[in-house]
Symmetry: C2
């Protein structure tokens, strides 16, 4: 048996209940049942209702966006953002090799092709330096378009994702995007509550997406939302999410190929209750990193992931980074922890190595591969507050 | 002012409350709040949970299917059914010209091309006779494939929709499909509770889709379900609906481009409560047609739509068919009814006349056009029972 693995699991055990832990458990400590009952009493449970309006308004206020559009999931939200931004089938969208598969799937669902680039060692998200040097290598400007020399296809957008709530270097990404004429759409699925300076993630690109899946900081069961400052884009996102129906009191005319992607009112009712508790959840998630730092203080085989200077992370997912010399311990630790009832996880397999994406265009992505080999994701529920240490 | 329009609206007024009526209002008279509260207490509100399992099992039992897979909406359910059935981008799928736009949109979302055919005068759904003669005209068999002579594309599937709950002539459709080698997928969005002989709609093709949108016989807020007898297809539908993740206790591998299309547990909790009341809802909807028949008994300008012999309709949407000589009254009636607070509707604009689908391949569809010109959809909530007549 590995001494390091036993030591690591023993340290994690100090943070989680003796009964074990999942990575994330939602906390329902507010008005959830009350609002759900009110929603039933209103008779409006579907795509129109007061809770949807209120959820969008409360979310927009929280993040500081002009507009928020609630949708059925983060994945369909990203797809919608790509389509509404004008990304066409057959075009390429730059995506970090390190993300949940949904980021690349949303690009595929829009008919476009995910083109993978590397992440940065500090943010664990899209690396603007690697992005620039890759585009200088494969990009070719022609007739105002940026073409991929190798595929002949147009590269039109970049889709940074704020890994585990740690903000990407967005000023850097915006510089490269401006230089190469790329649309910027943010996958902020994991970063509700995370800021870069004073600005909330999701507001740097033309549109940002948040997820409210069951494992996120707040949940609507399933759901997502898009935020933007652009009134025209907001109108288009809402129109396309509601079957592109032309408003009329009885006629059924549709002026585009729309979607049925609106968040139902019953899910928004849950969301309104969760949003009320969001500042507390983020505070708890943020305080948990100190607990892990303390627990792992004298370990010599790795470090707890911390936020970059100038950023405020929501610490949606706590992570431990093994030293390169100990990467072989990763799977031993994962197995041992699972045997102890602690559902830790590695990073997602790099997207450019997944079977359905192996043939896609990709930069060389050594940092994504290296991080994948040695990161261990730790239990991160907002309910795990420091006082839980035993 | 039109005498016929005034007479018609006056007759409808006898059925609906004096305060007015929408086409459909959900009825929440059972365990809705109880199950929603239980769902919150369980901590499972997202894509995994006991209510999802129970909803699928209860639904499969009700319709008599081997398998049911709950999804986020009827539209994404149809898209998933097409993709899982092997329909590829660029292939053509035969769709009735008369349907809600979602039927055609789902085909587009799968990357395929909707090819429109006419409906039957009796069922108001896909007409197998018109289908056969159209395929004999435009179809060309080549290397075991059915090609569209005009476009050169392969025609691979047919997607009948059971309009307003009235079952399509499925034996007729299945005959044509067998003759031309087409996959049959049923859009049963409107027909939960509708049978053809003793067999529930949705079970004639390889897979059938039900919708639980807020205006349907039962609602989950937003949601749908797929039913099939095919174990392999059921497994594929579920796999693709959950990001195509390969089961493993910690690794993130995905072997296909999947979707995030599962119905959340919180929506399924609502669905389980609604399913318990389904037989009563269907009985009420079915009894409402007698009320309309009675109210319109001595009118000489149209007839109330009734079920075809050999079928049991759930009468999801009650409809009045104006005589051809009075089709010019349709919009006058619609306007007058709306002014009286009764939200009646015409049929959907024929799909092959909508802006995004005008360029698609289409048969000549005179029946769809004729029905569109003279059908008026009547208030049809399960809460409108005969005793409401005033």
């Amino acid at each position: 048996m590995s001494v390091i693995a036993e030591d690591c699991v023993s340290r994690i055990s100090e943070v989680v209940p003796a009964s074990g832990a999942t990575l994330h458990e939602p906390v329902f400590g507010g008005n959830e049942k009350k609002y759900l009952a009110e929603c039933i009493d209103s008779g409006f449970v579907s795509s129109v209702g007061e809770f949807v309006t209120r959820f969008e308004s409360d979310l927009a206020t929280y993040v500081g966006a002009q507009y928020a559009i609630a949708v059925a999931s983060g994945t369909v939200g990203l797809q919608l953002a790509l389509v509404a931004s004008g990304v066409k089938p057959g075009q390429e969208v730059l995506v970090p090799a390190l993300s949940f598969v949904a980021t690349a799937n949303a690009v595929s669902h829009a008919g476009a092709i995910a083109h993978f680039v590397d992440v940065a060692e500090d943010s664990w998200g899209l690396d603007p330096f690697a992005l620039r040097s890759h585009l200088e290598e494969v990009g070719q400007s022609e007739g105002g378009k940026l073409l991929n020399k190798n595929t002949g296809r147009e590269i039109v957008a970049v889709l940074p994702m704020h890994t585990f709530g740690h903000p990407v270097d967005m000023p850097g990404v915006l510089d490269v995007a401006a230089e190469f004429g790329l649309i910027v759409i943010e996958d902020a699925a994991e970063s509700l509550g995370s800021l870069l300076g004073e600005t909330h993630t999701g507001l740097f690109g033309s549109v940002g997406m948040f997820s409210f899946n069951g494992n996120k900081t707040i949940t609507t069961g399933g759901g997502g939302a898009l935020v933007t400052h652009d009134e025209g884009l907001a109108r288009k996102l809402k129109h396309l999410s509601t079957t592109a129906k032309v408003p009329h009191r009885w006629s059924f005319d549709h002026d585009d190929i729309g979607f049925n992607f609106r968040m139902p009112n019953i899910n928004a009712a849950l969301g309104v209750a969760q949003l009320e508790q969001l500042p507390g959840f983020v505070a708890n998630q943020r305080s948990l990193v100190s607990t892990y730092r303390q627990v792992f203080a004298l370990s010599d085989y790795g470090v707890v992931k911390e936020e970059r200077r100038g950023t405020t992370s929501n610490y949606w997912l706590q992570a431990f980074l093994l030293a390169q010399s100990h990467s072989s311990e990763r799977d031993v630790i994962l197995e041992l922890a699972h045997d102890a009832g602690i559902a830790v996880r590695p990073l997602w397999n790099p997207l450019n190595e997944l079977e359905p994406y192996r043939g896609n265009p990709s930069a060389f992505t050594p940092v994504a591969k290296d991080l994948w080999s040695r990161v261990i994701c730790l239990p991160s529920s907002a309910s795990l507050i420091p006082t839980d240490i035993h």
